[in-house]
Symmetry: C2
Subunit: 224 residues, 2 copies
DNA sequence: TCAATAGTGTCTTTCAGACAGTATATA
DNA sequence: TATATACTGTCTGAAAGACACTATTGA
């Protein structure tokens, strides 16, 4: 193995792909860069990892710094590490990408945080396709989308994108927004019923009006 | 964002969890360290990422350097990045972990490569449980195991651990070794038949004797 | 002949997709 | 009253687990 100074030390950053759902549409948080390179381009929130800072902590910090969201209410997970030598034109920067899922009820808080840089939620389906992002961020976003689409069916990540209590329709809306397809309401309800008998979710007090008629409200059981 | 020298630059390594199957048993390649820290402990093959070297390339290089396996015959994928500040007692080292799947027919080549450091295949089921590995390598191995166990059912990674041509029993043996459970031979064969009609695999010439009676030999179709 | 594996078929359960149909709210 | 959504149930087909059964080889 090489001695201490025989190897280069690339700069290390974390980037976070922040998703939410607004108006039944999957959105992604982007920040307009005010520095070169890629000045005025849209980019993912992110920044350098500090000394003695764990990667996940760094991602949390960047997330709260740039969105002012309380960390405990946001789902955050490591995605993939991007280290192509020329992904940053200035110098070598290796980035540990993460993705975050933000409940729609918290989005107003995020909006308020746009004091320094310009911040915007982009629709994944309708606004993102034409957009050129800074660095390799398009690639990172693409992988994050693949990840959440694949994971939605076997991990309870859908619950991270609805309010604490939700109706069957609301959860179905999340699935449809992520997958980009529509689900049969009756069949989706059946999956839902199974989660209910499996105690994954439970009924919550009250009713909510999302359609033509008040619907039963539920909440996610685990870690409630 | 911070200016160029406002952030620390941790050392960057890649580590590779190398799996194979020998005697129907899942094995893991470990190397005995001959330097401090953790001298004489067993550790994952790995090392520093070089200048202008992509992460995947670095993992490939470490793999071939330490096992002398031809890269094109080995499945290699990024696993997770480990960056706890104190994971290396000397200084901060962030490691991008990968995992590799090696066909058993290539293992003799790997054995021959143990010229410099001591290299050994450890049985995951019977030898690993008691063993203390260097750094956080136990944690990395644990995550790699979770990953391949989860991925086995929906991705064609099982084919990476059998010879180019294989019998139904051999493939079942791989599944059993990875999952640590036994599969009903008849039911497994049915899954196999479906892959055959879906053209995922195809019949290969010849027969092979693995049990009491010669069995039909198959090969993986895609990327053959 | 016996033991062991190769290979086939069947019964049952689970779950998804398609879709008919009932119930209850608002406009 | 019309209609949109909430909610229930039924039919069909795909796939997995359990397991009985036949076929073919070596010892």
């Amino acid at each position: 193995m090489a001695r201490k100074d025989d190897h280069p030390r690339p700069a290390l950053t974390v980037d976070v792909v922040v998703f939410t759902i607004l108006d039944s549409d999957l959105k992604l948080l982007l920040i307009r860069r005010d520095l070169e390179p890629y000045r005025d381009s849209w980019a993912l929130p992110g920044g350098f990892v500090r000394e003695d800072e764990d990667l996940m902590r760094a991602a949390e910090r960047e997330l709260t710094e740039e969105t002012s969201l309380p960390r405990e209410h946001v789902f955050l997970e490591q995605l993939y590490t991007f280290g192509a030598p020329a992904r940053d034109p200035r110098e070598r920067v290796v980035s540990v990408a993460h993705y975050a899922l933000v409940r729609p009820e918290l989005v107003p808080l995020a909006r308020a945080a746009s004091d320094a840089a310009e911040t915007r939620w982009y629709s994944v389906a309708s606004e993102l396709p034409g957009l050129e992002l800074a660095f390799d961020h398009e690639q990172i976003v693409e992988l994050a989308l693949e990840r959440i689409r694949g994971k939605l069916d076997y991990a309870p990540i859908g619950f991270e994108l609805v309010p604490r209590t939700f109706t069957v329709s609301e959860l179905r809306g999340v699935f449809e927004a992520i997958k980009g397809t529509s689900y049969d309401p009756a069949n989706f309800r059946r999956r839902f019923r199974r989660m209910l008998t499996d105690k994954v979710i439970e009924e919550a007090p009250g009713k909510r009006q999302t359609g033509a008629r008040p619907a039963t409200v539920y909440r996610f059981t685990a870690g409630g």
